[in-house]
Assembly symmetry: C2
Homo-oligomer: 333 residues x 2
DNA sequence: TTGAAAGCGCTAACAT
DNA sequence: ATGTTAGCGCTTTCAA
């Protein structure tokens, strides 16, 4: 089969025996086109299998109806991305998602590529803390919203979870069940959420008058590091009786490593995940409100599309404790 | 802050005091540009914060380096999408993913939008069985690859899992552990994989000489339907002692509904999922090879980019049984 | 209501 | 090694 040249608007115009402008009108549903011509053009369009070139279409200006989403990962579940998509669709927008793979360079690359393609807006789950490369785009009026963590060095609308409140809730929950030696095991502190959660934990401990020595373990989420931290937490001179984990990956790795021993420790995880309810014991978690985060991000984006001069705002979305069993165990005697 | 007009190549050329063509050369890393001019242009680019307009850039032809992926869902985990992204990146391609929400109209809309934007290729997880709308694009040479299920009415390269072999393996595994009354609970048969798996199950039963009456339960994956099917399977006159579930969602819903009673039934699930190993008992599954599926899809796409005349091919990717405990239980006496 | 012509920002022949 | 000049496929003034 030989490759047929893609028909252009000119081909359609010739086929229909009308001017280029008329085809353009028909494609854009311009009501000022006579029925006769409109039909003739439509026939030509279907006959040739014409589809408009969206690149050229928007070269002159106008909305593309596309929103870019640069997120860390496409492989694991991403509830916020799902919410973004649903809400955006409700506004006639389509979300194009791409992965930053947690690499700053990659983020820059994909985000600039999106900007270059002149999407109507960009939702970003920022990696790193330097987003100066976006300044020219922001000046040019590209709407950008950051979520989960703030972007660095630029002023953009932002949606984050209330990490401190979440840690506080988890902490008080465990204290309420009699725990005094509570440990924290989470992400690296160079990551925004990792830092916020670890810092909030330290603040809780300080406020309750407990020493934190040997109880705060931020770091990379690798089996080795988690295993070492757990060993320090559980087999030290004054073992912890309860554990707060800083994200879903950490929680899962902890459970995997602990196996049956997980039943001897009270655990509250930050971040809910599918099947947390099917584990035994079922996992008590601090759940982020992904739907609200996604909806808010799209709302901020749309507001900025409408009004470039709006003051930049940061929205903090509440979290909630989901009690399922793992966090209600009293300290071992 | 007032909105600054986005600088164009012409602005850069004027600022640097060179011709437009020279700027174009610098942007495209053309080695035939003198160092002096190259530096002058680079300075102008950073000074103005210029970023090229990708739409115009590729209007003339050439690759955009973008691959569109239209998948059912962006919210749940999607290992194939992850694999697509990683492999594509290895070839200098960026994956833009968008959700079809399992709606045929939506699929058509997003796929045509991608075609209109002239991406280098499209990877599609087809919804429905009529994809004639893609014919003009295929004629025009847009590379398209379907995965997980075939596209309907068009000839495109396709990657699917070996569903029949997977069901066969699960079936023989359970038979090997002494089960005779084995039930199947899966997706609707109007869905390709739902049909393939149910049909393979029926074939296994027939080959082993067992009657299938009351044991095959395809249908929508809703809590109500699953509960009713389980009731029929477990509380009928001749209850099943083992169960094959047709996809991850069904498996999870079954476990959720059965609760502790899940421990009295041998279960093999089609599709692996995160945490299947952390459940008690851990879940024995037929795992699809997402990495190979993703890699093959990108390979087929790249081959077609190179040669439009290649004969269309369908690649069937093998599955493997992951033994974890839930499928090795003997039948209750 | 329809058409002719001028761009949109860029790349690619074709000079120089 | 650098500049000139046509377009790419479309939208958009501006005429008719």
């Amino acid at each position: 089969m030989t490759r047929r040249k893609r028909p252009t608007m000119i081909d359609v115009a010739e086929h229909a025996g009308v001017a280029l402008r008329t085809v353009s009108r028909v494609v854009n549903n311009d009501p000022t086109v006579g029925t006769t011509f409109a039909n003739r053009v439509q026939a030509a369009i279907t006959a040739l299998g014409y589809t408009p070139d969206e690149r050229a279409r928007h070269l002159r200006g106008g909305r593309s109806g596309l929103v870019g989403a640069a997120v860390r990962n496409l492989s694991a579940g991403h509830p916020v991305l799902g919410a973004l998509d649903v809400v955006a669709r409700g506004h006639g927008l389509t979300v194009l998602a791409t992965a930053t793979a947690d690499e700053e360079d990659r983020e820059r690359e994909v985000v600039l590529s999106m900007c270059g393609r002149h999407l109507d807006g960009i939702v970003l789950e920022p990696v790193g803390d330097n987003h100066h490369y976006l300044s020219p785009e922001l000046d040019a009026g590209t709407p950008v919203v950051a979520f989960d963590r703030p972007a660095g060095g630029i002023m953009v609308d932002t949606v984050v979870s209330d990490n401190a409140a979440g840690i506080g809730t988890a902490f008080r929950h465990l204290r309420g069940h009699g725990h005094r030696r509570i440990a924290y095991l989470g992400d690296e502190e160079r990551i925004f959420t990792g830092h916020e959660r670890a810092a909030a934990f330290r603040a809780c401990m300080a406020a309750s008058g407990e020493p934190v020595t040997g109880l705060v373990h931020p770091g990379v989420v690798t089996p080795g590091r988690i295993a070492a931290a757990l060993d320090a937490i559980l087999h030290g001179p004054d073992p912890a009786t309860a554990l707060i984990t800083g994200n879903a990956a950490t929680t899962q790795e902890v459970l995997r490593h602990l196996g049956a021993a997980a039943a001897t420790l009270a655990i509250v995880g930050f971040d809910d995940f599918t099947l947390a309810d099917l584990l035994r014991p079922a996992l008590t978690v601090v759940a982020q409100d992904s739907d609200t985060i996604g909806r808010t991000a799209i709302e901020l984006l749309r507001q900025r599309m409408t009004d470039h001069t709006r003051p930049v705002q940061t929205v903090t979305v509440g979290v909630r404790l989901v009690v399922r069993g793992s966090g209600e165990r009293p300290p071992a005697p």
